[in-house]
Amino acid sequence: MNYDFDWGVLIEYRGLLWDGLVATVELSVASLLLSLLIGTLVASGRSFAPALLRPLFTVYVEFFRNVPPIVQFFFWYFGVGLDVVPAAVIGLSAFTGAYVAEVVRSGIGSIPKTQLEAARSQGMTPTQVLTFVILPQAMIRIIPPLSVEFINVIKNSSIAMTIGLTELTFQTQEIEARTFRGFEAATAVTLLYVALAFFIVALSHAVERAARLDLRRG
């Protein structure tokens, strides 16, 4: 192995890496929020919508989680003709939303049915029961699996490079193209992804603790 490592390129191109990191975080956070919305609506729909409409939500989940994200990105970008950022956010949210829907559904399923019956017999409407009784509790229970989804969103956001979104992985290729230092760039970007994953694990622990305390205080 005779290869001269030149870690200096990382300092020289730190601006590219930083821009990439910011783009990755922005895309991931936007997509996570949107997919939480989609996931909650779809999961609620699957459990509480009129029986005739429920298959629609099931079809959504089954379709969007069984099509590779890269195909979804290309479809929105080239097929529908959206701009890069909307195509990436919609593609990533639609894919992740299907997984989040399954997570939320398991959270809803973990709340005893007796609570629904008790709340209904107090005179609450089904929508009230869902928003004030079931979802708040379900959301706290699913914080750990949601943090896994968050890490998955970050990992899948790398695929947005294929439609030209200049996130972290894109910058790896950019540095490689400019300096032929793909190895060094890949090392730096890999470490950044690992750091992001660690940060999310720590964040989810903190959020879970805060949420549980909040719930106990009422």
Binding site: P68, F75, F78, G79
Partner: protein, 241 residues
């Protein structure tokens, strides 16, 4: 919408689909072996074996598959001193990436086997590997099967990323067609449907296996004297990407 250009170019795309299946099969068999080795290392009593395996499994699961593909593509030429073909780089990356997920599936499966069973096998004179091959694995495999199929779905979708280093699998083949005839809406919709049909039938298979296993367990539960083999399917590993 006009799908006739898609149909006219079907043979070319089907060739790509063949390569996709090949990548998926190589990735699957490789990561079953790799995952088993990693799982055994992680369960070993020696810290020197346990720790490197744990670091590898946890680290790889934190980074995107595209990064792993780039790694292999950039790193291998440096190590070996000559360029690797994109297809073999993709295969190696798929195996390296999915082995770490498979390791967790296998580990959960192995841990779901009652400890007494292995101890009984060892104390009746079976060697370490005999116990593994004849007693522990067959039982663990049964519990792992749904999670393995779920991994296969994720792996199958992952093969589409070989596109980034220029492998002409199904997605890239479709892309090449699009570059020629420029029918993006029809082509990517068609590609999505093909992937959906493949992955969804796999997920139906996984659900069917799960149901079959649940049905097969009922008599064992009633028989109080028999060793209870009913163990939760490794749910954590299911559908993890």
């Amino acid at each position: 919408m006009d799908f006739s250009p898609v149909i006219r170019n079907l043979p070319y795309m089907l060739q790509g689909l063949q390569l996709t299946f090949l990548l998926a099969l190589v990735g699957m068999s490789g990561s079953l072996v790799g995952g088993t080795v990693l799982a055994l290392l992680r369960l070993s009593p020696y810290r020197l074996l346990r720790w490197p395996a744990a670091v590898y499994v946890d680290a790889v699961r934190m980074i995107p598959l595209i990064m792993v593909i780039f790694w292999i593509f950039f790193l291998l030429p440096i190590l070996t001193g000559r360029p690797v073909s994109a297809t073999s780089a993709a295969m190696i990356a798929l195996v390296a990436f999915n082995s770490s997920y498979m390791a967790e599936v296998v580990r959960a499966g192995l841990m779901s086997v009652p400890k007494g069973l292995g101890e009984a096998a060892r104390s009746s004179g079976l060697s370490f590997f005999q116990n593994l091959l004849l007693i522990t694995f067959p039982i663990a495999f049964r519990n792992m099967l749904p999670a393995i199929v779920s991994r296969f779905i994720a792996l199958f979708m992952g093969t589409s990323l070989a596109y980034v280093i220029g492998v002409t699998e199904f997605f890239r083949a479709a892309n090449n067609i699009n570059n020629r005839i420029f029918r993006p809406f029809e082509i990517y919709l068609f590609v999505a449907v093909v992937y959906f049909v493949c992955c969804w039938s796999l997920s139906l298979l996984s659900r069917w296996i799960e149901r079959r296993l649940a049905a097969g367990e009922r008599p064992a539960k009633q028989d109080q004297t028999a060793l209870s083999l009913r163990i939760e399917a490794p749910a954590i590993a299911a559908r993890a990407r």
